[in-house]
Symmetry: C3
Subunit: 204 residues, 3 copies
Amino acid sequence: MSLIYLLDLCAVAVCAVTATLEARRRELDLFGVVVIAIIAGIGGGTVRDILLGRLPVYWIHDPIYVIVGMVAAMLAFFLERRLAIPMDFFLLPDAIGLALFTVIGVSIALGANVHWFIAALMGVVTGVFGGVIRDILCNEVPLIFRTDIYATASLLGAFLLIALDRLGMAHDPALMAAMAMVVAIRLAAIRWHIHLPRMRPYGS
Amino acid sequence: MSLIYLLDLCAVAVCAVTATLEARRRELDLFGVVVIAIIAGIGGGTVRDILLGRLPVYWIHDPIYVIVGMVAAMLAFFLERRLAIPMDFFLLPDAIGLALFTVIGVSIALGANVHWFIAALMGVVTGVFGGVIRDILCNEVPLIFRTDIYATASLLGAFLLIALDRLGMAHDPALMAAMAMVVAIRLAAIRWHIHLPRMRPYGS
Amino acid sequence: MSLIYLLDLCAVAVCAVTATLEARRRELDLFGVVVIAIIAGIGGGTVRDILLGRLPVYWIHDPIYVIVGMVAAMLAFFLERRLAIPMDFFLLPDAIGLALFTVIGVSIALGANVHWFIAALMGVVTGVFGGVIRDILCNEVPLIFRTDIYATASLLGAFLLIALDRLGMAHDPALMAAMAMVVAIRLAAIRWHIHLPRMRPYGS
């Protein structure tokens, strides 16, 4: 549990940093960037907790999550010009964060005794909704609705975790296997530009 | 109750299909379309349940809603080029869906013993917020804030249901009367282009 | 308590009026304007209540909030052409509303026994999220993420209230001091164009 907690905080930090770098494209002030970064980090779990009725939401009684997101965003804000970190640098941490949020979401939903299909959805919600809210606040069509296999990797990992759980595998190895699958699919999709069928805009 | 349940699922499917056709205007991938379509179908009831504190929200313990929305969206996604269904085809089903969501929302709110005015609002929220969230995710000013009598039809139907309920009419005929009123107002507004006063943009 | 309640209703009305005037820039109909204005007035407290698990949210059992927002928005809608009220007129009432929402949010959160840092956040959420949701519905990057010291004033006032509370000051004078600080910082920021460091858009 302690390792998961630590990884969870790392995932929040990674989300906050990538959100800060994303926000470069908009003329936002420090406050705006920090708030959007925090929401990107904790938004997915917040929506999951609200839908499941686990209130107050998880970070209300543990301010560390908000503080980690805030510090990561401020560091990224002030250092980004100096370090010129390329976005590519974050592809692997980001994929690991997606994997981690997904398995945490599924575990929590299974613990709340919901249908397995809903548990898989809660994994995806935890994994991707932070980014959805981030993009809405930046006034963009959420990236995950337009881009390559992101949420799909989360969904397949969620299904694997649930299947292994049903087959009686111990929880920790099942978590690891599901996370490995999310990361592998995500990186393969980036590497070979795999994507789902797209709607052609009307009239094209 | 069984008929209401079936109609409710039909309304979710209609919302999902119209959301999919709406999404033609945006370059979304399959995942994006399906998620937006599901949210369009179940978003109104979800917001109502959260505001009223009926958690977990209604579809957590009944995955059929999500599955119906998903299947309807996928069918619409893959068939839309082939069938070339005109949007007009959905005006009547859409009006019935609005009517149904409205009366379900009012009934649930009355059952939660809230003030009649709030119960009417919950009917409108259930009826229109799925579309509001759909439009936000598509990065548009929600259609219902710009277009003709849509939410107004929902509000008037909600008031009628509450009035009939107060006057002691049995619940089922009251539901039918309120739904008929929503559908009639909505179709009349479309037919004769009735709309509320609009704000002229500043400077015009 | 009665004075706070009355001031709270005034703050809702001010938010609704400024939202209506803001909405001039968009071609919205009466319904759209009124809904956006109501949400601007009660949205912050609604998000706070959901995050804290205080459900149903506060206005469900007290329809006065919604009615005040609705009436204020309708008056502003129909009178704005006639009266030509300049936006500047609302700067002071708006600052007072921000101050009031902030101290109410902090007080409620402290009453729910959360960490002081989270209580301060809940003050900011109560103070600014109505405006955030308003801007999202109007399809704009929320103003508070781009503009001068607005949320920052709310945050500093929240910290002051918590510090005075810890130091054992009676609640009413502490509320007044914190509100005075929010108003003073906000007006000073407007007067001297103080703002936080901004991100330069990428490529500039």
